[in-house]
């Protein structure tokens, strides 16, 4: 087990090396002049000489491997370049926007896991009954429902029409409180900071802003998780140990939740990687729709304004998260299923 983890960890740098090589390969699809303009703070200078000088100075016309080495040495020192959209260094922007996105993702995971798994188990125990058909249709429709349409419809009903839930992250009065020094930022996540500050009103405000984005981020994952849980659970309910449990007279609840569901969760755990991908993709759309100031909205804005350095920084960060996340899922998988021996 330990040997496996160590070997996976040793492969990690290799994979990350290939990923950075690939990202830089994408980056060098841009002609040197375009890349040169990324190094200029203000407007692109009119005289062609100035452009040439920048290209010369940053070695943008040198062979690929030399440019790559130069670029990767900057990356390793934490210099991802300047983000024009965030008006700060890319690494600083990532650090600035990350807590907001993390907060959103963490809140979204709760309904995803509980509702997804619970509905999955229910539709397996009610196999081919109305509830099962209902969840099947629910999953199919959820899968066909683009998250931006879903989000905009939520906004239409609950924000524009009923005014129940606002968009954005917190209300203006919380921001004023913050700039007046009456509210301290410990983690950058308002729901946690509100508790640390002892401000239930701020907590309520942050939660109210969170409802619609969390629902949007959660519902596609519901569809996926529900179907996987259902089929895994159907498989498990056919096993002999379930029959044994029933035969020895255990109450149905115990049979389902203690004996069957625990074993049915093993294949579901492998979905962790897919769920993570869904979240990483999802935040871009969700934050953009709800004007939620996190990493995803920043990256989307940067992409549409062709602020390439920010986009590359965001992508590298996502890749690192995904690679680590997959490693974590694999290890978790081995831990919960003793039958799996990782060599």
């Amino acid at each position: 087990m330990v040997a496996y983890i160590v070997r996976r960890l040793m492969l990690l740098p290799l994979l990350m090396f290939l990923v950075t090589l690939f990202v830089f390969g994408i980056f060098s699809l841009l002609p040197p002049k375009q890349r040169a303009s990324l190094y200029l703070a203000g407007d692109v200078p009119k005289s062609p000489d100035a452009m040439e000088r920048v290209i010369e100075r940053y070695g943008l016309n040198q062979p690929f491997h030399i440019q790559y080495l130069r670029w990767i040495s900057h990356i390793l020192r934490g210099d991802f370049g300047w983000s024009k959209t965030a008006q700060r260094p890319v690494l600083g922007a990532l650090a600035h926007y990350f807590p907001a996105t993390l907060e959103l993702a963490l809140w979204a995971i709760i309904p995803v896991i509980f509702v997804g798994i619970w509905l999955g188990i229910l539709s397996a125990t009610h196999h081919n009954k109305p509830l099962d058909h209902f969840t099947r249709v629910f999953a199919l429709i959820g899968w066909s429902f683009p998250s931006y349409v879903y989000g905009l419809l939520l906004i239409m009903v609950f924000y524009a029409s009923l005014r129940w839930f606002p968009v954005g992250r917190v209300s203006d009065w919380v921001l004023r409180l913050e700039s007046a020094g009456l509210f301290r930022n410990y983690t950058g996540m308002y729901t946690i900071d509100a508790i640390l500050n002892g401000r239930p009103d701020v907590l309520a405000d942050a939660l109210r802003h969170m409802v619609m984005p969390v629902l949007t981020l959660a519902y596609i994952q519901w569809a996926l998780l529900l179907r996987v849980t259902r089929s895994s659970m159907l498989e498990t309910l056919r096993q002999e140990y379930v029959m044994t449990a029933r035969a020895k007279g255990l109450p149905e609840r115990a049979v389902i939740y203690k004996h069957a569901a625990r074993n049915a969760m093993i294949p579901v755990a492998t979905m962790g990687g897919l769920l993570l991908i869904g979240l990483l993709n999802g935040v871009v759309i969700t934050e953009t729709v709800f004007n939620y100031p996190g990493m995803g909205r920043w990256a989307a804005t940067a992409a549409s304004q062709l602020d390439i350095l920010s986009v590359l920084g965001f992508t590298l960060f996502n890749c690192a998260l995904l690679v680590l996340g997959n490693l974590f899922v694999d290890i978790l998988y081995a831990l919960i299923d003793p039958r799996i021996r990782l060599e």
Binding site: P31, W143, L280
Partner: protein
């Protein structure tokens, strides 16, 4: 043929097929349903005058409005069956009708191209094995290290300054990160088939690599991959529309559903007033994707019993 009859008998897939036929009819009849104001550039959405805010449908019953347009009793801008968007006053009905063509094109091209790349690389990898397999599979790993949409956004943003904003750019970005699943799937199936007796027999009879691969192995291994690909068409349409929604897809004014939806972003606080800018394009996109998914779902059950009951979303 037998498969198709089975699809027709299943009420769920029948509904999907009918929906798809409807969309196909709209795509084919687009010049008749929505006569282009600029006949040379039919994909440029018709624009209806000037107004800072979205304008409501010009007629109470949209079907009656469409009838007036089809029978040429009224111009599109006089009727505006589904209203207009705020910026640029693009006619939503026109954009949706011509956008149907874009949606079919995009879904089929992206799926077809990713499938082709995946099949070629996956079969080479599995058939020749050894270091070729190792290299191709590591390349797959690198591509898999990117979240799909994030990667596509990055590539689309980088490609824009070189080849310009347009549906081709967005399609390239999606194809570049869409093929890996097919490569893995076909590889696994070929690995199990290439040791069969009939492959050995073909080899013994002196058939070349290409002949063995394309005449003997692929036809026996390709079905599961084809089924999975057919189920992906809908989600590729969603992803493409997402790029358009973020301003990285079709150029402004091009008939494309994702872009119609992105116009709604500027009016989120007044969406209850201007409901038509979200409800019509949204419903259209959902129905289109749902149709593909309904057919794909049923197709999987019929063609590949092995996949029955597995991940089915």
């Amino acid at each position: 043929m037998k498969t198709f009859l089975k699809l027709l008998k299943n009420p769920i897939s029948l509904m999907g097929i009918l929906l798809l036929l409807f969309f196909a009819a709209v795509a084919i009849a687009a010049p008749w349903l929505a006569p282009p104001p600029w006949p040379r550039e039919p994909y440029r959405i018709a624009r209806c005058g000037f107004s800072p805010t979205p304008r409501p449908p010009g007629i109470n019953n949209p079907l009656q409005g469409i009838w007036l347009i089809v029978t040429r009793q009224a111009k599109i801008c006089e009727v505006r069956p589904f209203g207009t968007t705020g910026e640029g006053q693009y006619d939503i009905y026109y954009g949706l009708v011509w956008g149907t063509r874009t949606a079919f094109k995009v879904g089929i091209y992206i799926t077809g191209m990713s499938l082709a790349i995946g099949l070629i690389l996956g079969s080479i990898s599995a058939y020749f094995g050894r270091w070729i397999d190792e290299v191709i599979m590591r390349i797959v790993d690198v591509f898999m290290a990117f979240p799909f949409l994030v990667a596509a956004i990055t590539l689309a943003a980088v490609l824009q300054p070189t080849i310009g904003r347009g549906i081709v750019t967005a399609m390239i970005a999606l194809i570049a990160f869409g093929w890996m699943g097919y490569a893995r799937l076909i590889r696994g199936d070929i690995l199990s088939i290439k040791e069969r007796d009939y492959v050995q027999a073909a080899r013994a009879a002196g058939a070349g690599h290409l002949r063995i691969l394309f005449r003997h192995i692929l036809p026996n291994a390709i079905y599961p991959t084809l089924v999975v690909a057919s189920m992906d068409i809908g989600s590729y349409v969603i992803s493409f529309a997402a790029l358009s929604f973020l301003g990285l897809g079709a150029e402004v004014g091009y008939a494309d559903w994702g872009q119609m939806l992105s116009f709604a972003r500027n009016w989120i606080s007044r969406l209850n007033e201007f409901w038509w800018i979200i409800v019509y394009p949204g419903t259209t996109l959902i129905l289109f994707v749902l149709a593909w998914n309904l057919v794909g779902d049923a197709l999987r059950d019929i063609l590949d019993p092995r996949l029955r009951g597995r991940i089915t979303v």
